[in-house]
């Protein structure tokens, strides 16, 4: 069975600084997809970034980038130049062989002004 672990229930960062949210996973698949979703207080689920496991290059979307370590099964999210609007729950997820998303427990990100 696939699992996703987010070991940081809560992280805080000063506005304009950089923060890294960690995620590890377990899967027996050789090809899969990994995602980071953001859930602001409105509780909407917003896709932040996705990574295909067969691609070695780390995905980047503006201030958001990932450090994907396939051998270590690690998929951390780096947020540069943190902004107040980045405050949210962040969920790491893996797409399993049945095309279902398996979710981590989430990390609450607090931005200090």
């Amino acid at each position: 069975a696939q699992t996703v672990t987010q070991s940081q229930p809560e992280m805080s960062v000063q506005e304009a600084e950089t923060v890294t949210l960690s995620c590890t996973y377990d899967t027996s698949e050789s090809d899969y997809y990994l995602f980071w979703y953001k859930q602001p207080p409105s509780r909407q689920m917003i896709l932040v970034i996705r990574q295909e496991a067969y691609k070695q290059q780390n995905a980047t979307e503006n201030r958001f980038s990932v450090n994907f370590q396939k051998a270590a099964k690690s998929f951390s999210l780096k947020i540069s130049d943190s902004q107040l609007g980045d405050a949210a729950m962040y969920f790491c997820a893996i797409l399993d062989g049945n095309y279902q998303l398996i979710w981590g427990a989430g990390t609450k990100l607090i931005i200090k002004p």
């Binding site: 997809y33 995602f35 979703y37 409105s42 509780r43 909407q44 689920m45 917003i46 896709l47 996705r50 295909e52 969920f91 997820a93 049945n98 095309y99 279902q100 998303l101 398996i102 979710w103 981590g104 427990a105 989430g106």
Partner: protein
Amino acid sequence: EPEVTQTPSHQVTQMGQEVILRCVPISNHLYFYWYRQILGQKVEFLVSFYNNEISEKSEIFDDQFSVERPDGSNFTLKIRSTKLEDSAMYFCASRRTGDEGYTFGSGTRLTVV
């Protein structure tokens, strides 16, 4: 940008009543999903739907739950006899192909009293 639309945003219902949660997926998407998130807990998969039938369902998705795509645009989740523990945020999601990220709706907050 295309959106997945969910209505209502918040529904309060009495225990034992039937509720129908509605979703309009993105028009050219082929795969449809319902997830739920009990407050403070992980996002949980309920059911996936493709080609007008259920393709996968979780243990949570028991006989009290059903899904339908009656008219080719709406995708509904029905809970026949709600229980207090059905109180949660329910997310509808859709995707076009297997290797794309899901697009989530804004969610319906269901409160069973």
